[in-house]
């Protein structure tokens, strides 16, 4: 190896070191620490009772119906909201891409939900549906005394609506970026080959957008899986609407049960890892971070 190449490496590593160390310190170290905490009985309300308990905390979590309910809620919210976002996001992306006029207006409007603090968005939706202050119950076809947050399913629906509203713009922008990479000439060629608009969408657009769609889905799925802010604001987890993140927060911060809470944290981490792996398998060769071939 030449002297020059050697010094280039050294410089590169020095430049990367601060960011890498920061990332390791705040993610890798804590997750290892979480594993260590999770095998202890550590409840800050009873600091004297402690010690190694092995997998007891995990057994407690995994045998608790509450854990499985929160997993069910989280999966439900994730699947439903990401599916709706994909469809809506695709429609909005197509609208922006094929704009006859007003492309700027659409982009400006969809960036508003993106720019809003999630907690604020949650409040906006909460107050809209709240039977006391809201306007939704005053709309036609809605029961005037509908208690949206009094029932698990309707509460989850509002939570999903807020999530969809807040994050569809991000989905739409990612999909739009994918759309614009498709060579316009292919649509012309397909027109000449006799494909109508629907056929062009399903045979040209969708297959060529697969990488962009997978990236968008990956990011949004993992993001949706962490759902916390909206639930915290709207129901605080009551009516059986807890997500795994809310459960972890309640154990760790509200009940100060670091052992049990850490077990929940580690399990969430494992779940996220599994989802990511499933996606990476679906990506095949087009893993983000790898150079895509032309």
């Amino acid at each position: 190896m030449s002297e020059r190449a050697r010094s280039e490496r050294k410089l590169a590593w020095m430049l990367c070191a601060p960011a890498v160390i920061a990332m390791l310190l705040v993610t890798a170290y804590p997750i290892i620490y979480a594993v260590v905490l999770s095998v202890q009985a550590l409840d800050l309300r009873f600091p004297d009772e402690g010690g190694f308990v092995g997998i007891d905390n995990y057994v407690t979590v995994l045998t608790s119906p509450l854990w499985w309910q929160t997993v069910g809620n989280t999966v439900f919210i994730t699947v439903v909201s990401v599916s709706i976002e994909l469809v809506l996001g695709m429609i909005i992306a197509l609208i922006m891409h094929r704009a006859i006029f007003g492309r700027g207006l659409v982009r400006t409007s969809v960036l508003i939900p993106y720019g809003i603090v999630t907690v604020v968005a949650a409040f906006a939706w909460f107050y809209a549906f709240d039977p006391e202050t809201g306007f939704v119950n005053a709309l036609p076809f809605v029961a005037e005394d509908m208690a949206w947050f009094g029932d698990r399913f309707s509460a989850l629906s509002v939570i999903i609506a807020a999530e969809v509203w807040k994050t569809t713009p991000f989905m739409a922008l990612l999909l739009l970026a994918g759309l614009t990479t498709i060579d316009e000439g292919l649509y012309e060629a397909a027109k000449m080959d006799g494909a109508n608009a629907v056929q062009r969408f399903f045979r040209i657009t969708l297959p060529l957008m697969k990488p962009a769609i997978l990236v968008a889905l990956l990011f949004r799925t993992l993001d949706a899986f962490r759902v916390f802010d909206s639930i915290f604001v709207m129901t605080a987890g009551s009516q059986g609407t807890e997500s795994v993140s809310i459960l972890g927060y309640n154990q760790l911060i509200s009940r100060l049960n670091l052992g049990l809470g850490s077990a929940v944290s580690v399990l969430i981490f494992v779940l996220v890892l599994l989802i990511a792996l499933a996606f990476v398998k679906g990506f095949g060769t087009s893993v983000p971070g790898r150079e895509e071939e032309e």
């Binding site: 012309e188 027109k191 000449m192 056929q199």
Partner: protein, 391 residues
């Protein structure tokens, strides 16, 4: 199969610019028609109007007997080869070529048969199951051709299909395209900016400029009888030399001397622009028996470019440079400086490789007066064809 008629076809953009102006053109059934011109001349727009990829603002376009102004591309029964090929990157060569047939719900076995036959013709058989990304430029080009062929359409439209190939491959594919078109006998409209391609491929060539047709003729006519300065300068390489000239009593005064006018132009008079192709000059010593029928002059050779089979000799002449708005526009259109007869009184002669003229020395050159072209400096029209075919 069918002919294609442009009847006063105009393409006007919302901002009012006209890309194609009242175009009248008739492409015969089975004919290989070339649309040629500098970039921005409207040739691609004209092609895309045939394809149905551009709306027609005015006039009527017919394929066969039918007006197709309002037909979608898929209903026009035409196939197109795109400049960048527009191969579907997610489909194999086989699927690319069979896509149109599949959309038309043609029987699977029938599609396979047609695709394989086309692949055979184009020497693509062993690549049928590859994706376009794994093909060379020439192979991609052939897939694009194959995609058009399998459809057996009423007409082929080709938009600069060879321009993305390297020079050698381009010449090779040019022959290929020509052979295919002849064997299939399908009406073909082919767009190019390369005048060599235009001259070698087409049955007829339509020269366009600024959205307007300049001349439609066989390559031979185009070369021999250009209707105006633009066509004269655009067709031929190296381009025609232009000189300021004055005609009187059957003679024309050129910077090199006074020359007898050819018979059909003997009536010309007044200030004109004379055009002489480089190949109509020769080294006076090599002319042989015709020497007496031409005009001889002496000129200093500034530069020699030997091409092996011929020599380009750039010589200086004394007259003022030919000037005309038409000429300066032409120079701008074809990229400036491309005209050998620039403002410095320089012209180029194409000489036999046996010539022994030397750079920096004077040489005796000969020119054939019968091949002189004369143009009106105002309108740019050729005096020879002005009456016959006003542009």
């Amino acid at each position: 199969m069918a002919g294609i008629q442009f009847d006063g076809v105009t393409k006007r953009y919302p901002d009012g610019t006209e890309a194609v102006k009242k175009m009248d053109l008739s492409v015969e059934d089975g004919e290989f028609m070339i649309l040629v011109g500098p970039s921005g001349c409207g040739k691609s727009t004209a092609l895309r109007m045939i394809a149905g990829l551009e709306d027609i603002s005015d006039g009527e376009l017919r394929i066969g007997e039918n007006a197709v102004n309002d037909l979608a591309p898929k209903d026009r029964d035409i196939a197109m080869v795109f400049q960048n090929y527009a191969l579907y990157p997610h489909m194999t060569v086989r699927d690319n070529m069979g896509f149109a047939l599949k959309l038309a719900k043609v029987d699977k076995a029938e599609i396979d048969k047609k695709v394989e036959a086309a692949a055979e013709t184009l020497d693509l058989t062993q690549h049928l199951d590859r994706k376009p990304a794994n093909l060379s430029g020439g192979q991609r080009q052939r897939v694009a051709m194959g995609r058009a062929i399998v459809r057996d359409p009423a007409a082929f439209l080709m938009d600069e299909p060879l321009s993305n190939l390297d020079a050698k491959l381009r010449v090779q594919m040019r022959t290929e395209v020509s052979r295919l078109q002849q064997s299939l006998g399908t009406t073909t409209v082919y767009v190019t900016h390369d005048q060599t391609e235009a001259m070698t491929l087409g049955d007829r060539v339509a020269v366009m400029r600024g959205g307007a047709l300049q001349q439609v003729a066989t390559p031979k006519e185009l070369y021999a009888d250009p209707v105006n300065l633009f066509v004269a300068g655009f067709i031929g390489s190296p381009a025609m030399n232009f000189f300021s000239a004055e005609a009187e009593n059957g003679k024309v005064r050129l910077p090199m001397g006074e020359v007898d006018l050819p018979q059909d132009l003997s009536g010309a008079s007044g200030k004109l622009i004379a055009g002489i192709r480089p190949e109509d000059f020769e080294d006076a010593d090599l002319v042989g028996e015709h020497r007496g029928s031409g005009f001889e002059f002496e000129a200093p050779i500034e530069q020699l470019e030997s091409m092996g089979s011929e020599i380009y000799a750039y010589f200086k002449h004394e007259g003022e440079a030919a000037s005309s708005d038409e000429l300066s526009e032409l120079a701008a259109d074809i990229g400036g400086g491309d005209l050998p007869s620039d403002a410095h009184g320089r012209a180029v002669a194409r000489l036999d490789p046996a010539s022994e003229v030397r750079q920096g020395e004077k040489a005796r050159l000969w020119l054939d007066p019968a091949r002189i072209h004369l143009f009106d400096p105002e309108s740019g029209h050729s005096l020879r064809t002005r009456e016959k075919e006003p542009a």
